[in-house]
């Protein structure tokens, strides 16, 4: 078992230094330490404890819970802030026509943001990776679906994904290996909804999920706490912390509250060291042979930009001014209504089924595709809020809460953005964090492509509403963020228009990889985590190959 070395000052050296301990960093650490390399993981945020988060959630005021405050219950290191919205801490300031649509929730803690997620583990469609060739919009990936496919399989196996074995229910069905587990069984609401909408081409299918109905590698079976967001109270849902634990058991060292802020390069522009501040604001450095920044698509460009040095005055990996550009998220909206029959959503995991009929088609040359999640989070909080507004009390209040809970429908719609170089993360000139490091700014405009896609989606939803005899049919007006942060270190074959290659390796620095959502040249409409992980696993292979070559 090889482990990193530390000297008396707390400086470290390892074969591989990974910044960020979320799902991508942790899984890469686990892969690389398993191959016999020493691995150091530096995480800006604190180490947290599931039981504490469960109790924090239970101690939250109703207004936070009803407002889906999934950030506020996660303690933050004072030196590594992350976005907060109750009240807003303005850590990430938004500018541009779609300011307000990029209010992302991400965590800076050991294990990363998959502490709170729906565990949806979608793959891109093969055509999603050829948007320019197929539809004349967006960008093509420099790698094919076939090249990424084995890593999708590995990612699903590592995360313990339950997905439909029936190819007719898969999206996409191009798979070389079956899902590790068959789909999580549907509840009544999923089944009934499919019966109603599927004859009309909406194609409600099971969501492939990183959770299990049988014990899986130390995780208990999901029992439907319906609390995936903000915290699975029993650890049945996959969390990045699982691979942190796994990597540590194999000898990886994970340092919490280690905020990386500076990156050294040598005359060949190889990375030689990264510097971090510990919890007492004391600076240390880590040297290594290979370096990985896996801090998500917003913090990675921020770090690259603020680590500008003499040789790389525009920032690390930024010789062609591409870092921070092409920021994307599946901007979306919600559609709520009261069905004319009880659907009893809210039993089982937070997300269970999804309409993928509008996921692809020739229309994509004109406007965004969409997917529609039949939100399965319990409607009790929304129902209660509405019932209270009516001024009801006593038995009448209870009855109304019950009625709204079982008849209520919430659909969550995601749209596909196109990569736009002007949608951009930059460093704030005015706001700084506790360490004096610049906070991120974002300029965002979802663009016509998304707006037109939203209009098309509205028409589809109105039709669905009619199928259910909808009352109180409502579509939210503003586009909301979906926390699927992509872009910022975009992948491409041409260094002039991209930051990393098909292995997520930077064009500028031969021993630096930037895996995860930042590299994705197209967003598709599906949740980005599985693709991020697949890219991380592909990058891990590339790192291992480079180490094997003795390039140190």
């Amino acid at each position: 078992m090889r482990t990193p070395d530390f000297d008396a000052n707390g400086d470290a050296s390892a074969d591989v230094v990974i910044v960020g301990s979320g799902v991508v960093g942790a899984m890469m650490a686990d892969q690389l330490v398993a191959k016999g390399h020493s691995v150091l993981v530096l995480e800006a945020g604190p180490r947290i404890n599931r039981g504490q988060i469960v109790e924090n959630w239970r101690n939250m005021p109703f207004q936070n819970r009803a407002g889906s405050d999934y950030q506020g219950l996660y303690p933050q290191s004072p030196l590594a802030p992350a976005p907060l919205y109750f009240p807003e801490n303005n850590y990430v300031q938004q500018f541009g026509p779609s300011a307000g649509s990029f209010s992302q929730g991400y965590l800076r803690v050991v294990g990363g943001t998959t502490w709170h997620w729906a565990a949806s583990c979608w793959r891109h469609l093969p055509v999603d990776m050829q948007m320019q060739s197929a539809y004349g919009v967006g960008r093509d990936w420099p790698i094919s679906y076939e090249e990424l496919e084995p890593y999708y399989c590995l990612a699903e196996e590592e995360m313990g994904v339950a997905g439909p074995h029936d190819p007719a229910l898969q999206s996409p069905s191009e798979r070389s290996r079956p899902y590790p587990m068959d789909m999580i069984p549907w509840n009544y609401g999923d089944i009934r909804f499919a019966e109603v909408v599927n004859p009309h081409g909406y194609r409600l299918v099971p969501i492939p999920q990183g959770r299990n109905v049988r014990p899986w590698q130390g995780r208990p079976a999901c029992c439907g706490n319906n609390n995936c967001m903000p915290i699975c109270p029993i650890g049945a849902m996959y969390n990045g912390i699982h691979h942190v634990e796994s990597a540590e058991a194999k000898g990886a060292k994970v340092l919490a509250e280690a905020v990386v802020y500076k990156i050294d390069t040598n005359e060949e522009n190889r990375i030689t060291e990264v510097h971090w501040f510990d919890a007492d604001k004391v600076s240390h450095k880590a040297s290594g042979k290979m370096f990985v920044l896996a801090c998500n698509a917003l913090e990675t460009p921020r770090l690259l930009l603020m680590a500008a040095n003499e040789r790389n005055p525009q920032g690390i990996a930024n010789s062609t001014d591409q870092v921070g550009r092409y920021m994307m998220d599946h901007s979306g909206f919600h559609c709520t209504f009261m069905a004319d029959e009880p659907l009893w959503t809210g039993r089982g995991p937070a997300q269970s089924s999804c309409m993928v009929g509008p996921r692809d088609g020739d229309f994509r040359s004109e406007y965004s595709s969409n997917k529609v999640i039949l939100n399965n989070l319990s409607r009790v909080e929304a129902a209660t809020t509405e019932a209270l507004k009516q001024g009801l009390v006593g038995r009448a209040l209870d009855d109304e809460i019950r009625r709204r809970t079982i008849y209520g429908v919430d659909l969550s719609i995601s749209l596909e953005p196109l990569p736009n170089p002007n949608n951009r993360v930059t460093l704030s000139e005015t706001r700084r964090d506790e360490l004096g490091l610049p906070c991120p700014d974002i300029h965002y405009d979802v663009g016509e492509y998304v707006h037109k896609g939203a209009e098309a989606s509205h028409r589809q939803l109105e039709f669905i509403g009619k199928l259910f005899g909808a009352a109180e049919f409502h579509i939210t007006e503003d586009l909301n963020a979906n926390n699927h942060i992509m872009g910022g270190t975009i992948m491409g074959a041409d260094p002039r228009t991209s930051v990393v290659d098909g292995d997520c390796r930077t064009h500028d620095h031969p021993n630096l990889w930037l895996p995860g959502g930042g590299a994705m040249p197209s967003a598709s409409v599906v949740n980005s985590t599985l693709t991020m992980v697949a890219l991380g696993l592909k990058a891990a292979d590339s790192v291992a190959k480079e180490l094997g070559r003795g390039n140190a």
Binding site: E55, G218, G235
Partner: protein, 496 residues
């Protein structure tokens, strides 16, 4: 039983045939074994029946628990490390491989290993192999087991490395002395005063199922204490409870159906659930036994002399009731804390109550069991409560997997410190279990290390010094005797 007798006759015939074939072979090298192999002349159905009987006995004897590596090991290929207080004992390959397993064993050699703890090469087995129980196996059953292992188990030619215990336990000959002292050789003899059912139960409990291996406490030399038969014993971090007929300390208060259900599924609502090695025994063995055999085991347990612990005045399952302190917790802390779980109650709420519920009542259908009226929380010690937390529970019965994650280092849920586990345990004991018990951090640390070590294990590092000291003392005594003798003679000589 008729089939068994026939099998036994067949077994004897087979041995005779093999012996004669060997003798014949001396005279005629062209006379091959295969031609005399009695399987060809034996009706296939009888041989199959014998093998089936052997398969059932191998399950009843839970051979697989030790001889098959968990999670996908080749059946009976050995290699599993049996953690014993005296050191790790490596389970052997008992497939019919002639190079790595027991393929060359004759039925007598096989029987001797099972019933006397002696291998074909004459080396003594350690009693981690429960030959002290298997000695009860009847000749018929040994023959059936032999047929099963030789003809139905796939040979695996992979050698298992030898067990290496520390001195002096590495001297296998010492087991000859131990056997002379403690091995009561069988086979089982029925008690004519008891019913067939009780006798069958006695045979199963004392023989193949080897219940006393875990449930009977051991003496200083690690032999079972007969006077405490099935009276309860520590087993690594777990406690195999008293299963004598006593109403309070034993299982006298359990109804027959409850004991049967427990052996079938490992769980009885309002009584308790199986963890640790008992979960394994149910998963590998008891769930597959016939209804008649399970009933026979229960009938026999009713006859086992009661052992009462005077400290106990109510059964382990009788303690506690639902209590929900949840409302007292809310509003006592901000919602963005990183380290506010400073009491057993709060820790319980964060790590346990999602499944076992704030009331301790478990889930509706008791997949997550209630914590009151539960032998793990109401027993005379808290070993199984602590062990369940630090090791978890893993039991597969039929198609269902019963799983509680562990809360030790590497937990996929949450690591809990020794202090945390102690605080949670004490909260659970106070609210739902035996409030007279108290768990300390040291208890939890000990459980993580595999439980209290027996005296013999604790003194092992000193045994060589003790033996040396005895040798020196003996030598000194001899020298003193010689010197005294010589000086007396000299005095006598002088006098003369």
């Amino acid at each position: 039983m008729i089939a068994l007798q026939q099998s036994s006759a067949f077994g004897a015939f087979k041995q005779a045939a093999i012996i004669s074939s060997v003798v014949l072979g001396i005279f005629s090298t062209s006379y091959s074994f295969a031609q005399t192999e009695p399987t060809q002349s034996e009706p296939a159905s009888e041989q199959e029946a014998l093998i089936e009987e052997g398969r059932y006995l191998a399950i009843a004897s839970d051979c697989t628990a030790c001889h098959t590596m968990p999670e996908g090991g080749e059946p009976f290929a050995g290699g599993y490390n049996i953690v014993s207080p005296l050191g790790d004992i490596r389970a052997t390959n008992i497939t019919p491989s002639t190079s790595a397993g027991i393929g060359n064993y004759t039925q007598e050699e096989f029987a001797r290993a099972l019933r006397e703890g002696v291998r074909a090469d004459g080396a003594y087995l350690y009693p981690a192999m429960p030959y002290t129980a298997y000695t009860q196996l009847t000749d018929e059953d040994v023959a059936a087991l032999y047929a099963y292992f030789m003809h139905d188990v796939a040979p695996v030619d992979e050698q298992v490395t030898d067990t290496e215990l520390p001195f002096p336990f590495n001297i296998r000959m010492s087991m000859a002395v131990w056997n002379a002292l403690f091995l009561e050789e069988g086979p089982f003899e029925a008690d004519p005063a008891q019913s067939d059912q009780v006798n069958r139960g006695a045979y199963l409990v004392n023989g193949p199922a080897h219940c006393s291996t875990c449930h009977t406490p051991r003496n200083m030399l690690m032999a079972e204490r007969e006077s405490q038969f099935l009276g309860g014993a520590y087993l690594e971090a777990w406690y195999a409870p008293n299963i004598t007929s006593d109403d309070i300390s034993g299982v006298g208060g359990w109804r027959d159906e409850e004991l049967i259900q427990f052996l079938r599924t490992g769980h009885v609502e309002g009584k308790g659930q199986a963890g640790g090695q008992m979960a394994e025994a149910i998963e590998n063995s008891f769930q597959y036994l016939t209804d008649d055999d399970i009933s026979a085991i229960v009938a026999y347990l009713r006859e086992v002399p009661a052992i009462r612990d005077e400290q106990q005045d109510q059964p382990a399952y009788a303690f506690g009731e639902a209590q929900n302190l949840e409302p007292t917790l809310r509003g006592t802390a901000e919602h963005d804390k990183i380290d506010s779980l400073d009491t057993g109650e709060k820790l319980f709420s964060g790590s346990c109550a999602s499944c076992h519920q704030p009331s301790g009542g478990g889930s509706g259908q008791q997949y997550y069991p209630q914590l009151f009226n539960n032998t793990a929380t109401g027993g005379k010690n808290a070993a199984n409560l602590i062990a369940a937390i630090v090791y978890g529970i893993d039991r597969e019965v039929g198609d269902e997997a019963f799983f509680m994650p562990h809360f030790s280092k590497g937990s996929m849920i949450n690591e809990l410190s020794n202090d945390d586990v102690a605080a949670i345990s004490n909260y659970v004991l106070q609210q739902y279990g035996n409030p007279a018990l108290e768990v300390t951090s040291a208890d939890v640390a000990k459980a993580r290390e595999g439980g209290e070590k027996p005296l013999l294990a604790r003194i092992q590092p000193f045994i060589i010094w003790i033996m040396l000291a005895i040798a020196v003392l003996l030598a000194a005594l001899v020298i003193w005797l010689i010197v005294r003798h010589c000086s007396k003679r000299r005095k006598r000589t002088v006098r003369a």
